[in-house]
Amino acid sequence: MAKNGEPDYDQVGDEGECKVKIICLGDSAVGKSKLVERFLMDGYKPQQLSTYALTLFNYKTEVNKQKVLVDFWDTAGQERFNNMHPSYYHQAHACILVFDTTRKVTYKNLPLWLKELREYRPEIPCLCCANKIDVDYNVTKKSFGFAKKQRMPFYFVSASDGTNVVKMFNDAIRAAVAYKNDSTDFMDEIMRELENFELETDSGSQTLDDKKDNVSESGLESSKNKDNDDDDSDVKS
């Protein structure tokens, strides 16, 4: 334990496990806590960090035969007034950005959350999910450009009926471990698996219809986007 009673993720676990920290970010009431609860199900006793009123859940798993101790951090409502304590971000290895498909404002606020995250953790893998799809499944027939624009894996999920929750968290864990192990292509790997991801970027002037055409052609084989991390257009015409 480091100062303030916070775990130190630079240390390995008692049995040599890899320790990672995963955080969820997003507006109040988008379902961050419910998603973590759904993934962990019952029987997980959270640990309270009294200093900052943050909650964390320990979870044991394995990634590629490597033992992993995951801490999922949850807020006790500090996302209100956009007032996350820096310790929430400290040493995080992956982040899940959540919005609520029934409330547009929560989608519109995603860039603010991402911006804050990047101030503390410029490099960590970040996944994006659209929660509460159970309210109206038609939402899954719609496109949300944010994740694609930011080159993040995107998931339609429901903490209520469980859709894609386990898959998303497992991907987040893999990304966190890969990040910690300094692996360079972890995100590409996840991206490639999610068929909906497009590596090429579009120029700002293109319409969304044009984009759609590109999706089918772009393929997902390349990881060249590393050099192409800004918004320069790279679409072959």
Binding site: K34, F81, K104, V135, V139, S143, D161, E195, N196, K212
Partner: protein
């Protein structure tokens, strides 16, 4: 509980209380039950008063047949009255608290409002929830959604957005 069915619920101001009208199935009789809110003042915490009622040895089984959101609403109306608010004003305020506005930023509302909004959201959450003891329960539910036949959500293309497309 199958033997009773709630038909109406309401409030009583003096002394403060919650009232339910229910049908007792075995006798097919309509009954009315008044449940006092003990030591209830204008400063009482609504959440706690609601919880006390729900865990009350005799009243608990009746109030647990009302949704939590509705029970909280009733208790709030009683408290508003003790704070000198007119019934009309209180109803209007409570209607606003019970409405989910997709444009409303819940990061900046007070604690009470956030709790109320979450209680309303809980209704759908619980309705759609698949629990471990449900025969259809699966821990890992993976569903792929067709990305190719999508239409624009319309959430990206608006003025004043922080994102540039």
């Amino acid at each position: 509980m199958d033997e009773i069915e709630i038909q109406k619920c309401g409030v009583k101001f003096d002394p403060p209380g919650i009232v339910v009208v229910y049908n007792e199935k075995c006798s097919n009789k309509q009954r009315r039950r008044t449940m006092p809110l003990r030591d209830f003042t204008k400063n009482t915490n609504v959440e706690k008063a609601t919880q006390d009622l729900l865990s009350h040895p005799r009243h608990g089984k009746y109030v647990s047949l009302i949704t939590k959101a509705q029970l909280v609403r009733l208790v709030t109306i009683v408290r508003d009255k003790l704070n000198g608010m007119s019934l009309e004003a209180s109803l209007a305020r409570n209607d606003a608290l019970d409405k989910i506005d997709p444009e409303e930023n819940l990061n900046t509302v007070d604690e009470e409002t956030l709790k109320r909004k979450k209680a309303v959201m809980d209704k759908t959450f619980e309705k759609h929830q698949v629990k471990p003891d449900d025969p259809d329960f699966k821990y890992d539910v993976e569903v792929e959604f067709d990305e190719n036949n999508v239409i624009e959500s319309g959430w990206d293309s608006e003025e004043g957005s922080d994102m540039e497309f």
